[in-house]
């Protein structure tokens, strides 16, 4: 199976997307490890702690920008439609999770979502949707 599921298999925009994605996720892992180590070893509080805590989020924001850039640069309308569909489903899953949790908190005194739940729901749904679309295409004879 081609590893670049969905987004621009083989298209120039798809290749740029994958390269940028790899850089952003690598940066995320690196910054996350660095920040966790820094917080563990150096006592900090106040705005400094806030600033350090936000640093690993920046590559994740960059990933969202990379996704947007792909949609802008992809000239193949079918591949663009597949990426759009995945993003719409992932956004729906994320919003749905937040809304349900909001009502649980407001009415049933439920607890707030844990850290990274939104992150997992969005990117997890996006990935699963891409795989599902890939499998559907293969089922229709697209090897």
């Amino acid at each position: 199976m081609h590893w670049s599921i969905g987004c621009g298999r083989g298209s120039a925009a798809g290749k740029r997307y994958l390269r940028r994605l790899l850089i952003a996720w690598s940066l995320y892992v690196l910054l996350l490890i660095l920040c966790l180590e820094l917080v563990k070893k150096v006592p900090m509080h106040g705005w400094v702690l806030y600033a350090v805590a936000v640093i690993p989020a920046l590559p994740v924001l960059a990933v969202l920008a990379v996704m947007g850039l792909y949609l802008q640069e992809e000239t193949d309308e079918y591949l663009r439609m597949l990426a759009m569909r995945s993003l719409m489903i992932a956004s729906g899953a994320l919003l749905g999770t937040i809304v349900v949790n909001d009502f649980l908190r407001a009415i049933a005194h439920g607890s707030a979502l844990g850290p990274f739940v939104c992150f997992i729901v969005f990117f997890g749904t996006y990935g699963v949707t891409q795989i599902a679309q890939e499998m559907a295409a293969r089922g229709a004879g697209d090897a």
Partner: protein, 64 residues
């Protein structure tokens, strides 16, 4: 929407990859159009028609 893409391609002995190159799209796009999973935009439909030297109506048929 039904289309005659596969038949027209077969008449000319073109592979999906060759047609994709002529249309400047991915082979996945050609496959999706052929199998009816995706209806192309008007600009792409015109491009397809030009590639086969046919009118859009000769390639794409509205489902009734």
């Amino acid at each position: 929407m039904h289309n005659r893409l596969k038949a027209l391609r077969a008449e000319r002995g073109w592979s999906q990859q060759l047609l994709a190159e002529k249309l400047e799209v991915s082979r996945q796009s050609v496959n999706a159009i052929e199998t009816g999973r995706y209806d192309p935009s008007l600009p792409l439909a015109f491009k397809i028609a030009r590639a086969f030297r046919k009118s859009i109506e000769e390639i794409f048929v509205e489902e009734r």
